[in-house]
């Protein structure tokens, strides 16, 4: 390329333009000239004197060094910035995600549809007591009564209320997301993951809509469908209706358990066990 530029015959080069340029090249201290203005200072189609040639070579060498240094700096800075952005944008690491997906038989219910005993839990995904019960008693209930085939079903009744005075409606956000997961028959996986990843404090801002999407992705849901469902606020009205329904039912705290419609006073597993056994042993449903 350089050769081409040097050797190309240019009739215009004989004009007043070229000697002026040459003069400039010789007179100006080389270091003062910016990178780009070095180009085109030497006429093509003419032989340079050894001195001019030496100046030209030096200028080119300097420009190449500048190119390497500036280019290298830009690359190093860019790599550092990219590394920082990647580190900052890392998606949340969710805890205790299931190894394999579970498909819901019915949304928000586990156990036979015609079970003799129905255990209802009113819960809020932000409620620490609900998490505690989920962590300690949920699997016991499933093992002792549902998987054992004793004719018990468990129904989750959402009662989103802990975010009532918060700027971010995290009880609602999580519930609406769980409903969207339910559309894909993955309510229980999502429900479990919400409790397993409950932040240490309520209304902390952890459960943003984005994070519910990340959880859906981590649970390998159809993210596209899920995101559309969440973005369209598909279950906003339903979540609000759930809260109203719970209030109308006289529920004033979470978790609250009902066994065949009878409200229990606490959330203790032994109390629940007692109530379930009594209901199972009673003649009528």
């Amino acid at each position: 390329m350089a050769k081409q530029n040097d050797s190309k015959p240019r009739p215009e080069a004989a004009g007043s333009n070229t000697p002026g340029n040459l003069k400039t090249a010789e007179q100006k201290p080389a270091a003062a000239r910016p990178l780009t203005t070095n180009t085109g200072n030497y006429p093509s189609g003419r032989k340079l004197t050894p001195k001019q040639e030496a100046i030209r070579r030096r200028a080119q060498k300097r420009r190449r060094t500048q190119l390497l240094v500036i280019g290298g700096l830009v690359v190093v800075i860019a790599l550092a910035l990219i590394a920082i952005i990647v580190a900052v944008s890392q998606p949340t690491k969710f805890e205790a995600l299931p190894a394999a997906a579970t498909t819901d038989e019915r949304p928000l219910e586990i156990g036979p549809a015609d079970a003799k005993v129905t255990v209802e839990e009113y819960g809020d995904y932000q409620c620490p007591g609900c998490k505690l019960w989920h962590d300690t008693s949920q699997s016991r209930l499933t093992t002792d009564y549902i998987k054992a085939g004793k004719g018990v079903k468990f129904v989750f009744r959402p009662y989103p209320f802990l975010d009532a005075r918060a700027a971010q409606r995290e009880s609602h956000t999580t519930l609406e997301a769980a409903y969207c997961a339910s559309d894909q028959k993955r309510f229980w996986d999502y429900h479990d993951a919400l409790y397993n990843n409950q932040p240490l404090s309520e209304n902390s801002g952890f459960w943003s809509v984005d994070r519910t999407k990340q959880l859906a992705s981590a649970l390998k849901l159809d993210v596209e469908k899920f995101n559309k469902c969440v973005d369209a606020n598909t279950y906003r009205a339903k979540a609000n209706a759930d809260a109203s329904a719970a209030i109308n039912k006289g529920i004033n705290q979470t978790p609250t358990f009902l066994v065949n419609g009878t409200k229990l006073s606490g959330a203790d597993y032994s109390e629940l066990q007692k109530a379930i056994d009594e209901a199972l042993n009673s003649p009528a449903k």
Binding site: G15, T36, T39, G40, L81
Partner: protein, 175 residues
């Protein structure tokens, strides 16, 4: 005298040959550059179209292209900015325009435009360097944040890298 003129003639012929070969090399490099930008425009237009019409992109079985094209990082700044596919269309069209302009002024070979050509090569270098850096950012997000690789994006990254290499060669060779 006769010998002198013969020597001159042979020198002119040599210069002409060297000139012709480097000139054609330069032209083919020009065409390669323009061709790559055209492919880049094509890819970016396709991705833009898919983005706005919500169409699934022709992709590997895992549909990783849709994952990438519908992620937060399909916008710059992420989530709310301009779709990066549109930025791609603009960037490749801009580079194609500059490359066409460069071709035009190289062909006119006027001394006054030589200066412009040097600046133009510098501009192309800076522009493609910016493109490579941006493409590097997008690829890093694909690899380490979105955890999905979109082959259309990889193709675009390879194109901008090739354009950058051509630009480096040109700036390196500036006299």
């Amino acid at each position: 005298m006769a010998q002198n003129s013969r020597a001159k003639a042979s020198q002119t012929a040599q210069v002409a040959t060297a000139q012709a070969s480097s000139f054609s090399r330069s032209l083919s490099l020009d065409w390669l550059f323009i061709g790559l930008t055209v492919v880049g425009v094509g890819i970016s237009l396709y991705l833009t179209w898919a983005h706005f019409t919500d169409t699934s992109i022709i992709c590997t079985a895992d549909r990783s292209c849709d994952t990438v094209n519908r992620s937060a990082y399909a916008y710059f700044p992420p989530k709310w900015g301009i779709p990066v596919s549109i930025l791609g269309v603009i960037a490749y069209l801009g580079l194609a325009g500059l490359a066409f302009y460069r071709r035009k002024i190289v062909q006119t070979s006027a001394e006054a435009t030589r200066f412009t050509r040097g600046q133009l090569d510098m501009t192309l270098f800076v522009a493609t360097l910016g493109g490579v850096v941006f493409s590097g950012y997008l690829t890093a997000m694909e690899l380490w944040v979105i955890n999905a690789i979109c082959w259309w994006c990889v193709a675009s990254a390879l194109i901008i890298s090739s354009l950058f290499i051509i630009s480096v060669v040109r700036v390196w060779a500036l006299d």
